[in-house]
């Protein structure tokens, strides 16, 4: 089958368009943050967090202490930054749609799923990140998070275009399977959501540090500059947990689908190929995160570090293992 060059070029143009939109969104979100007002005073948050922290231990939460306070407000008032935030949000939607269209055209140009090499993976991953963010923002106000989403997406797209770019082409036989669509898209979807989860965990750490300082009666440090403009630590922690808990089964599914595919393609369902090994490591670290959240003494900051560590293993698998380590997966057409 041949490659439809017109569609392939249209796809490239849309990637540039999408980057332009995301750049605009990034600027708008920065302005929104800079002008934004506190969502909740750090002192108040510190107070509330310290009372709700002793709450849940393992699956047998004691009944007389509330597990989740439902009284949390969204802190709607972003002050002057509101307009800029809205512009950022619209531009993010635009960038996401353009990126989705770019993927669609790329796929159409070769009549196959557009996830056959690292350039395409990177486009799809950027799309997964921004789409997760957009979908989450439908039912809650996430303008404060926009900057921390558009920056990684732009970095990812920049890398895709400069370092990883590959012309549109057919697949090598090993990738020519419907399992490509199943396994890789599950992995990319989890990757996108884990990116949002890692951003939330990182912001949680910032907020927690600021609240700890406030609780100890110390001068606000640099963390306060950001912490003022994002939700309270316990809320960030909870949001991050929910994303991770929701995505972990999907990541598990991605790994298992990979094993089923490997059984059909390579004659064994698990062979400790470097890529498989790192997928396993990622899985174990996120399992550890979920355990940490249920283990006394590990909730809070330590668990957040584990979540970020899990994300680091994904990045390692993608950039280091794909590019530098020899294995059966080495046909990403770099």
């Amino acid at each position: 089958m041949t490659v439809n060059e017109t569609l392939a070029q249209a796809s490239n143009a849309m990637v540039y368009g999408s980057m332009t939109a995301f750049t605009g969104a990034m600027v708008a979100f920065s302005i929104s943050l800079a002008k934004g007002r506190k969502l909740e005073s750090i002192e108040d948050a510190a107070q509330r967090t310290s009372t709700s922290h002793q709450v849940r231990m393992g699956s047998t939460a004691t009944l007389d202490k509330p597990a989740v306070s439902t009284a949390l407000t969204d802190g709607e008032d972003l002050g002057e930054g509101r307009r800029a935030g809205n512009i950022g949000m619209s531009l993010t939607w635009l960038g996401t749609l353009l990126l989705g269209a770019a993927l669609l055209f790329r796929g159409l140009s070769v009549s196959r799923p557009p996830i056959g090499n690292m350039y395409e993976f990177s486009l799809a991953a950027g799309f997964a990140v921004s789409l997760t963010y957009c979908l989450l923002s439908i039912s809650r106000d996430l303008r404060w998070l926009g900057l921390f989403i558009t920056v990684p997406v732009l970095l990812d797209l920049g890398l895709a275009l400069t370092v990883l770019y590959t012309d549109s082409a057919q697949l090598v036989p090993a990738l020519n399977s419907y399992w490509l669509a199943i396994h890789v898209s599950a992995a990319i979807v989890s990757f996108g959501a884990f990116t949002v989860g890692a951003a939330l965990s990182a912001l949680y750490l910032v907020a927690q540090v600021a609240e700890d300082r406030a609780a100890d009666g110390k001068e606000p440090g640099r963390s306060a500059a950001i912490a003022q403009r994002i939700p309270s630590a316990d809320r960030l922690d909870l949001m991050s947990y929910r994303i991770h808990a929701f995505m972990f089964p999907i990541w598990t599914f991605a790994v298992i689908a990979g094993a089923i595919w490997a059984e059909a393609a390579w004659g064994r369902y698990w062979g400790w190929d470097p890529k498989e090994t790192w997928a396993f490591i990622t899985w174990v670290v996120y399992a550890a995160y979920l355990h940490a959240r249920a283990t006394a003494g590990w909730r809070g900051k330590k668990a957040a570090y584990v979540a970020i560590g899990g994300y680091a293993t994904i990045l390692f698998n993608y950039f280091i293992v794909n590019i530098f380590v020899q294995g059966l997966h080495s046909y990403s057409g770099l």
Binding site: V3, R56, G58, S59, T60, A61, L63, P66, A67, V68, T70, T166, D167, A169, Q170, L171, V172, P173, A174, N176, S177, L238, Y241, R242, A245, F246, F248, P249, T252, F253, I256, A259, W261, A264, A265, W266, G267, R268, Y269, W270, G271, W272, D273, T277, F280, I281, V284, A287, A288, L290, H291, A292, T295, G297, W298, T313, V325, Q326, G327, G333
Partner: protein
Amino acid sequence: MATMRWLWRQLTSMRVALILLFLLALASIPGSIFPQRGTSPLRVNEFLKDNPTLGPILDRLYMFDVFASPWFASIYLLLFISLTGCVLPRAIEHYRELRSQPPAAPKNLSRLPVHLEWHSSAKVSEVISETATAWKKRGWRVRQGDDWLSAEKGYARETGNLLFHLSLLVLLLAVGYGGAVGYRGTVIVREDSGFANNVTQYDTFAPGRVFGADQLPPFAFELKEFEATFQRGGQQNGAPRAFRAELMVKDEPSAEPRAVTVEVNHPLRTSGITVYLVGHGFAPEFTVRDATGKVVWQDASVFLPQDTAFTSSGVVKVPDTVPQLGLQGFFLPTVSEDFSNGPVSKFPAADNPEVYLSAWQGDLGLDSGMPQSVYRLDTANMKRIGIEELAPGEVWNLPNSGGTVEFTGYRQWASFVITKDPGKGWALGAAIASIIGLSLSLLIPRRRAWLRVTSSEDQGNLIEVAGLSKTEAPGLADEVLQLSKLVRAPEDKQ
């Protein structure tokens, strides 16, 4: 005894499980950094040769067999002991919980995270019994007191969690079982040649610990045709696009042969074994005649690809002449005009094939009793008598009255991995169960809800509805609101 109990309690604690999980992740890392014997034995040998001091030390630490090493095994075995010790008591506890009623309502409902109250003059006993029915219909387990209800929902969460952890145990057992009783072999088959399933026909054969050779099902196949297509032009010129092997398969000796197409991602499955297409190459055909013109060798010889354009190297050993004759060289499917880096092919398909050979006379060393590679010529006792480039149909008159070599054409060959893993189905079942368990465990909210009616003369009865989430799932307030609407106690209008 006390220490044993202490040890057991430590081992089955969440904290130790957590540490073991970290250790497992850490322990896997060297397996991805150093080449592993299981997957790339040649690269291990290379590594050992390149690092004569560091290599053996790493080897003693099992760095080239990480996933078969005692320390890796001890981590996951400890983890699974911990898992069993942790999950079994929880399973018993959960079983009891499933058969018992939710605990009675706490005294003070207003302290709970979600709490609603209103006044109603509805009758206490009616409110209680009607609400109990309505809540049960909504899927709650309800316990009824005189003037209170206590309800719980989401037991499947714990069931899912136990299912998940148990299926991990089953998965481990299935992997171990399959590895022990199965096998894995590789074989190269030329077009128009066959393979019969017995150990001697394999090029490599790796049986499990308790595998018996009599467990090889008696099937056979012939490779009728192999077809490879490649990308022509563009940035990925020469990249493979499709491989296909056409086989005639006899599932058992008395069976009718049936035609089967084996492709990458589409293996042949028969009698518990699976046949995978994993590689391919060329086998140039030669006819070798001695000085008198008698045919002393006529066959296709398997040459192994050296690069992505399928520059392939191999040898032909002709033992039946005096002195013995050896040919060594390259098959080039599409010969390059430029040999400045030696003879190379420029495209993987056989568009313009040639062979580039050197001929050796002397002793092939076949009688020494040492096993010899069929892909290498032992030239210790041989002398090179000439070099030649041949297109199909060309004949080379060897110097030294060595006879003639005719390059008559080529066949292709395909390589197959043949495996048997009886644990596979169990592993798949366990994996699917683990996802189901995990999803239940992480997505189902576990909640409690209460109703209390406090009778009072002057204001009408006080109706209180409260809820508590035992997990961090969202939506508790909504759920409690829905429950409150099911309470048959209309609010009094003041």
